[in-house]
């Protein structure tokens, strides 16, 4: 916007206000970190004392390790399924000749908008009849329905902006359709795919309601474990678990940022001004 001539008060006020809101957004996300080191049995803030017992409990106690590993496994499978299905669907939506595309678009977005508990409940009914309660495959598929819309959103947006003359050029220069996708299309939309994949992973890993309904009695996912703790026995181990969670997410983001900077570095080593932007 224009550099306003004169009064800066509105801007300062705006800045302060925004600052407050940012704090509001950020604090609850990170407050569990110091709490996880607290020495007390209850959740307090400010934390008293310093201990790592909660972490060791989280990392060693089978009660916690089991669900964490299962959640990981679940999230990875869901991400794979989601990426493949979502990518194909995006291709069809953006480049295909499909009748009723508008309807399909809404249909594909709807799983996010419909309350999860309805979906969980409804699917539970079906799974009960098909004897799929407790099956990992069943849970993966249910999660996939929930995460694929995001994949489609992200990848469709990428494909939309994709310059199709790049593919035409590749074909013209002798690349078969398959090779064109492999060498040209995928690398160029790589960022989109990775973003979508990470979204999928986090959403599946964090998913509570579907898991609660469909997992049966023999196993737990990490969110279920944390949720039950919150309801019955508020235990600082939950804080430790959350911290690990946050750290992991941070690590991924930093890792990505790192990769981008590395690529920029390689390119700008050559004589040239601007950095390479994907």
């Amino acid at each position: 916007m224009d550099k306003s001539i004169g009064v800066n008060y509105p801007k300062i006020l705006l800045g302060v206000f925004a600052g407050v809101i940012f704090t509001f957004l950020v604090v609850p996300s990170v407050i569990t970190v110091p709490m996880s080191f607290s020495n007390t049995r209850f959740l307090v803030f400010p934390p008293k004392g310093f201990t790592l017992t909660w972490y060791s409990q989280f990392l060693i106690d089978e009660e916690w390790v089991g669900p964490t590993l299962f959640s990981l496994k679940l999230a990875i499978c869901t991400t794979l399924v989601s990426l493949i299905l979502g990518f194909m669907a995006s291709l069809a939506l953006v480049r295909g000749s499909l009748p009723g595309r508008k309807f399909l678009n809404i249909l594909f977005i709807s799983p996010i908008m419909i309350p999860v508990i309805i979906i969980a409940f409804a699917v539970y009914g079906i799974y009960a009849k098909l004897n799929l309660i407790g099956s990992t495959v069943g849970l993966v598929l249910a999660h996939a329905i929930y995460t694929t819309p995001f994949v489609i959103l992200v990848i469709s947006a990428n494909l939309y902006r994709f310059d199709i003359t790049l593919e035409m050029a590749a074909r013209n220069l002798g690349a078969s359709a398959f090779k064109t996708y492999l060498f040209i299309t995928l690398p160029v939309i790589k960022t989109g795919i990775i973003t979508a994949g990470i979204f999928c992973f986090i959403m599946s890993f964090d998913e509570l309601v579907l898991a609660m309904f469909l997992i049966g009695t023999k196993r737990l996912t990490l969110p279920i474990k944390m949720f039950s703790q919150l309801q019955f026995r508020i235990d600082p181990v939950v804080a430790a678990a959350s911290t690990v969670f946050i750290m992991a997410a941070f690590a991924i983001i930093l890792g990505l940022g790192f990769l981008r900077r590395e690529r920029k570095a390689i390119v700008s080593k050559e004589k040239g001004n601007d950095s390479f932007e994907q």
Partner: protein, 284 residues
């Protein structure tokens, strides 16, 4: 079969590409959802509308329905009031680094668990939690407030979770606003207040609409936050359904409530779509 051109997939190819996901959706999503209706219309094997009547006859349930709508509405309003200035602020930042930093703050919630964040609010709002400690410490109140397990807590928690959904669409629309429109308005004699009122705000409405749609509809069906922060006295529709299924085992009745919520949600989506247009989402 001869194809027309290389650049677009033929009907067959498009169909093949989209069918795996379509099949998955149909079996594991559409069918179960449609199945809710027949499920809710039976009791002990007999066709009946009893469940639906039950729901509307008992004031408790209607209260829960209204509470849900009321809370969702308030959450939407708050998200708008808090979120619009933030979105605006984000567009005013000149430095790219700081801008990305703040944007990351807004996106941070997406990278962290909802469970974790809601749980943090428990810690913040509990009787000897951070907020109460701060208030008593500064002498603003005598004894700790009962903040947790109330409508207030639910609203705060939901606003926290849903705020990014309001900020991002508005930010996106504001960012792509043609600066020349503003310059033209200034040139034609409007001061900054009028420019905002007559140019910037009206043009940002699609973003506001999209954000409001997302927030409201998501708030309606929210489970986790009301479950943790609401306590037994502030039941919302989703927690009600949960209670009916997992504690009272009223399967059919729960199906009826779920079916009702489903209808309301779909109606809302269609209504909003008419006003806002879902195609905007694709320019995210």
């Amino acid at each position: 079969m001869k194809r027309e051109s290389i650049r677009r997939y033929s009907y067959l190819q498009s169909f093949l590409l989209i069918s795996p996901y379509l099949i998955l959706l149909s079996i594991f999503y559409l069918y179960p959802l449609f199945n809710l209706f027949p499920e809710s219309l039976f009791k002990d094997g007999n066709f009946t509308l009893e469940h639906y009547q039950h729901f509307f006859r008992i004031p408790l349930y209607s209260r829960i329905l209204f509470r849900t709508i009321r809370i969702s509405f308030m959450v939407t309003i708050f998200c708008f009031l808090l979120g619009y200035p933030v979105a605006y602020f984000l567009t005013e930042i000149k430095s790219q680094k700081i801008g990305s930093l703040f944007l990351a703050c807004v996106l941070l919630p997406f990278w962290t668990s909802i469970l974790v964040r809601t749980y943090s609010w428990v810690v913040l709002l509990q009787t000897n939690g951070l907020i109460n400690n701060f208030l008593t410490f500064t002498g603003l109140i005598e004894k700790p407030l009962d903040l947790l397990y109330s409508e207030f807590a639910v609203i705060v928690g939901m606003v926290h979770v849903l705020l990014p959904f309001m900020i991002l669409p508005i930010f996106s629309v504001l960012k792509n606003l043609d600066r020349n429109l503003i310059r033209a308005a200034r040139n034609l004699g409007a001061n900054y207040f009028w420019v905002f009122l007559m140019v910037i705000f009206p043009l940002s409405l699609p973003g506001v609409g999209a954000g409001a749609m997302f927030v409201f509809i998501l708030a309606l069906g929210f489970y986790i936050t009301p479950a943790i922060l609401g306590g037994p006295r502030t039941l919302m529709i989703s927690t009600l359904i949960d209670q009916q299924i997992n504690r009272l085992f009223n399967w059919d009745f729960a199906a009826a409530i779920a079916a009702l919520l489903l209808i309301v949600t779909i109606v809302m989506i269609v209504a909003f779509n008419k006003i806002v247009g879902l195609d905007k989402i694709y320019s995210e």
